[in-house]
Amino acid sequence: MNGAHPDVAQDYQQVPEDFLKHLLGTLVIVIGLVVAASLLFSYPEKQPLTVKAYATQHPIAFEQVLLRALDGQGQIANYGPPYNHGTGSVQSFVQARVGVLHPVNAATDFVLKPLRMAASINPAIAPALNRFVGASATQQAAWEAQAASALGHATLRGGSVIWPASAAGPLPQLLNAGLSLGRSGLMSGALTRNPAVFTRFDSQNTLLFLQGTPLQTNPATQTLAGPNWGIIHPAVNGYPAAWWMTVPTWIYQWPAVANSAAPDALALMIGFLFWLALALTPWIPGWNRVPRVVGIHRLIWREYYHRRGQVGSRHHERSPVSVRE
């Protein structure tokens, strides 16, 4: 009963209503708005970044991505749970405790397996691949270190990556073969390969392969980057995006969060506290009285207060009381 709630008015009338007409009306309004916007503006689509496009447009950088996957310096190679046992991107003990749920061995999955598949088409790759795989870990690390240095001085000639003379063993040949595979358009297939099923639902490895330098240096993603308020921006200018994420995106901008060792965990936890304050509004003393103090309700119920004032001042009458609860 309203009588138990002194902060709720009790003197109001019931007026006739056609609820179905109301619902149908709002549905027609939304359909009209949505169809009009779709006809006028279609919707934003930005061509995705493909492995082939990146390999074609950035051959040396592509080989560097392959090398970092191979030598463990890449972000995913050393990420940690849920992909592997690395430590590079572990932000909390909870993350560490979750363990490896979606195993990724960057060297094997991003480089060696795709190259093994390529070698079945181009047998010339096989000797270099066998030499690398058959070498000791120490030898592999030594070649990788030499390759990292040499690739920094590589040049492009006719679209090919020309390596300077180095002691990188089979790596120049292997990484050039990897580049050819990337340019062929076949590499994303090799990355998402799962011999247990023929369906290709899991795009994880293709996305994780591209998630570092390829996507982060893409000019089209710069407005989407975290420091630029990330997700609330569209990939195609002029369209709305996920603007309802403004609060968590704003939290990411706080220096204490942005400079933290665990920015994602911190931002999302603080964002959750904001939501909690919203959700628990009815039970937070003081905060739950803010609307009454602010007084915007007087505008929203202007006509109700107006009518009630008229009735009260002219005739000191009460409208018939209708209690709905």
């Binding site: 007026v15 609820f19 639902f201 998630q211 994420m245 039970w283 709905r324």
Partner: protein, 209 residues
Amino acid sequence: MANWTVATKRMAATVLSADTWLPTELPEYAQGFMYMLGSLTASSFVVLILSGVLLAMNGPASWSYNGAMHFVAATHFWAVQAFFFFMMLHLWRVFFTGAWRGGRGLTWLLGAVAFLVAIPTAFTGFLINGDLYSQWNAVQAKDGLNALGLGWVNLTNAGQMYGMHVVVLPLTLAAIVGLHITLVRLKSVVPPYPEPAPAVSLQERRGDA
């Protein structure tokens, strides 16, 4: 112990009654555009479900090679914009009218939960669209979930995101929104704050004089 069947029957008689769902009168204060915002949000959700079913029937990438499905995908995109737009206006309205008063705290809480669940529901839709925005946000947002120990939700797995977007999250959201609307119907919308009549009627007196 009370008879569960009797109690459920009694509750169902109220919850499922035509009087609850097809009211022919409403409180005088609950009129105008401000009181259309909840229905506009629910209507947007209906449009989202209808366009989403059409998209699901034709496959997740059908919009990329079929003109009709491209149009349906556009309606799905604008419907989610409408959904959040009206939901946000509805949120402002219910906040500034203290809509939790009079024993309506649970209605408010369910609305807040619906808002929270709507965010990943929309986000997983963006992820399965398959464009650059999908790629970027999948690889960026994964770090947040991983950091919170929620790595089993694999944002880079399009199959898992498809299931989340078309089954798990919309069903959850529909259930929460359904409960929210049921409570609104059972308890009606919150009456105004009791304001001292003279404060409002003073101008009227001057006008009458």
